[in-house]
Symmetry: C2
Subunit: 177 residues, 2 copies
Amino acid sequence: MGEVIDAIRTRRSIRKYKQDPIPQEKLDRILEAALYSPSGIGKQSPIIVCVQNKELRDRIEKMNSDILVSVGRNGDNPFFGAPVVIVVLADRKVPTHVEDGSIVCSNIMLAAYEEGLGTCWINRAKEEFDSEEGKQILKELGIEGDYRGVGHVVIGYADCELPNPAPRKEGRIHYVK
Amino acid sequence: MGEVIDAIRTRRSIRKYKQDPIPQEKLDRILEAALYSPSGIGKQSPIIVCVQNKELRDRIEKMNSDILVSVGRNGDNPFFGAPVVIVVLADRKVPTHVEDGSIVCSNIMLAAYEEGLGTCWINRAKEEFDSEEGKQILKELGIEGDYRGVGHVVIGYADCELPNPAPRKEGRIHYVK
């Protein structure tokens, strides 16, 4: 089995992180690779906001938590203590922006796994960056345009063993020969 | 650079295919790996329909072409002559079904690249499988449930050199330190 297929099979979501900083060159390799993700009609609709700043990381986590609480869910610790959060947004004018942004998140997770880092996709980026506070954050960062949050990838060194995968559901592949 | 990051950076969409059959063991490795893609709350919402049957492949391509023509676009050869089409659908009841299905498509493309195969994501699976004809096809295949088409990955041996990537747009990564 090749290393790519092995990574796809063995990468798992990590829900407990060390506080050790992530070397910048690792983040650069991961995010620059993700820019080469395919996108609808090659429009490269996604952008990546890599939040290493603790104040902004905590502010976004608080927004995420508040959204969870507002729908009656547990809002404790939605970023699982990961030191860095990567937000992927995409240009809402492009019809495939959710698909495009999802692929970028996925490739960030795979590339990070190869770099020895744990990740977990966290939802609710749409709700965050559709809110006035989210729009204000983008404005403060100098990001202009109609961007929709697609997902967060929280990232850091895992503070746990690689979890075993849940059993795969039966009957998910249909061959028509 | 590791092989995963190298694959993410160098894989490209292929738009010209040989007619050589794809060994079944390659398809098995690719699709079984893709089942391990992350999914929202671990629901494993996507399913994969791998169409090696020429009659059904051509029927789906005709539907795709008709959709293109209906919106005033060129409907010639939308599957680029690839011998096999993989359709990814996902359970519409799961809120993250588009994201989940997109990751499966992306991982199929990366795994296929490692196996020496070319791929291209083709849109309009939603329109196809929301139509009566699409629903009838699923029924004929014995697939029950409210599945939405997320994407097609056409696959085969490339009949061209690996294309060079278009230049990446500037300013797509924002670091907040």
